[in-house]
């Protein structure tokens, strides 16, 4: 756990910065900010961006195999949105001086991470339901909280993203609901998907507060507004009912309503699995990264063509002007 630095070694500039944050004012790109605040944000925003983009893969996997044309259109629209979310976030990180090339390079070199949930395979059509319902659902809980993050461009990006997310979760839930109301086999497929995605979804909120490496300073700087455990609890509380309504069972024997706390108690996450997947050893880590590298490399000719075309146009304009 990182320590919050004592007030005594805070420069006057930093005091102004912290006062601004304490007063719930946003920090904007041209403001002075501590180097660590900038670095911390670049790390968080770029990893958030990578998650949006890598997250297109497990769903992209099912576009050609969607059961109806309508479901296919919906899935396509959702995956397209996720690409857009990546763009909003990369742009927000760029306002802090990070370049797109550096960020992509860090992803490819394995220095930058992305949400570990996307290292799980999407095996059945029901997974499109579970991902929308649970993975987007968990992302929304986190992103709603981040609408109040202290860095202006990040907060505004979150507002834009949240507006688009609600359809993602609802279409996923709708898939689950439809399957759960279908044949016994279809219902079993939905349940199996919930079984596989439930725990990884809870892992999306990160380690317990007591174990979280970046939390204390991030909370003081209001980069994060609510702790991992608070957000996870919020997600569990809202999701239990949603499962009940469609007759699916959350795969946790310890799940029970705690009258006193006014929250659900739930079982312990398999942290060993969490660390294994985040450190590169999940079922699909290599595949996800290799696919991103491949797509990036195969797109090189497009970027080259754009540059060549621009150069040619400039040359022509110059000749016409001469």
């Amino acid at each position: 756990m990182t320590k919050i630095r004592p007030e005594t070694d805070v420069s006057p500039q930093e005091a102004v910065f912290q006062t601004r944050i304490d007063a719930e004012e946003k920090i904007e790109p041209k403001d002075w900010m501590p180097d660590k605040y900038r670095k911390n944000l670049i790390r968080q925003i770029s990893q958030h961006a990578h998650s949006e983009v890598i997250g297109m893969q497990p769903e992209g996997n099912w576009i050609t195999r969607a059961p109806t044309l309508h479901r296919k259109c919906v899935l396509l629209a959702k995956v397209q949105d996720e690409g857009g979310h990546g763009l909003y976030l990369y742009s927000a990180a760029e306002t802090l001086g990070a370049s797109r090339e550096e960020m992509v390079e860090a992803l490819h070199a394995g220095r930058a991470k992305y949400a570990s949930i996307f290292n799980y395979p999407s095996l059945t059509w029901a997974d499109m339901g579970a991902i929308g319902w649970l993975v987007d659902g968990a992302a929304i809980v986190n992103q709603v909280s981040l609408q109040r993050t202290s860095y202006g461009p990040y907060a505004r990006g979150m507002v834009r993203i949240c507006k688009e997310e609600s359809f993602h979760q609802r279409q996923g839930y709708h898939i689950m609901m439809t399957l759960a109301q279908g044949s016994a086999e279809q219902k079993a497929m939905a349940q199996d998907s919930l079984n596989r995605f439930w725990w990884p979804s809870l892992m999306m909120f990160g380690p317990h507060d007591s174990e979280s490496a970046h939390s204390a300073q991030s909370m003081k700087w209001k980069i994060k507004r609510q702790s991992n455990d608070e957000l996870r609890q919020k997600f569990v509380d809202q999701t239990v009912k949603q499962a009940e309504v469609i007759g699916l069972t959350i795969p946790d024997a310890d799940l029970s309503w705690n009258e006193e706390r006014g929250h659900y108690d739930f079982g312990e996450i398999d942290w060993e699995e969490f660390h294994r997947v985040i450190n590169g050893d999940g079922l699909c880590n290599r595949q996800r990264l290799a696919h991103h590298v491949k797509a990036h490399e195969e797109g090189a000719w497009v970027r080259d063509a754009i540059t060549a075309y621009e150069a040619k146009k400039r040359q022509r304009d110059a000749q016409a002007a001469a």
Binding site: K26, A77, F167, Q171, Y173, K241, Q242
Partner: protein, 94 residues
């Protein structure tokens, strides 16, 4: 107004945390002058905390008449909207 002065578009951030919004335009010799003019003209009643000025000629814009072919508002794709999905009442706040 001398003919050779360039046109600038002015954007103002009314409060920290909000986007800059277009408020109008003005003529100026260079960006620094445009910024001063913008301050004088557009922020006399504490309208904002930050001003952007951009050469009008640097703005590339689409035309409303191109709308259909250029960016169809996708009215035929209602499934992009959350309200398209009918869910049971108990979970409809999703």
């Amino acid at each position: 107004m001398s003919a050779h002065m360039k046109l600038f578009e002015v954007f103002i951030r009314s409060r920290r945390g909000l986007d800059h919004k277009h408020v109008g335009s003005l003529h100026a010799e260079d960006p620094a002058q445009a910024l001063e003019y913008a301050r004088d003209v557009y922020t006399r009643r504490s309208e904002g905390v930050s001003i952007w000025v951009v050469n009008s000629s640097a703005i590339v814009s689409s035309q409303e008449t191109d709308c259909e072919s250029f960016y169809d508002p996708l009215d035929d794709k209602p499934y992009r909207h959350a309200t398209h999905y009918q869910l049971p009442d108990e979970v409809n706040n999703m």
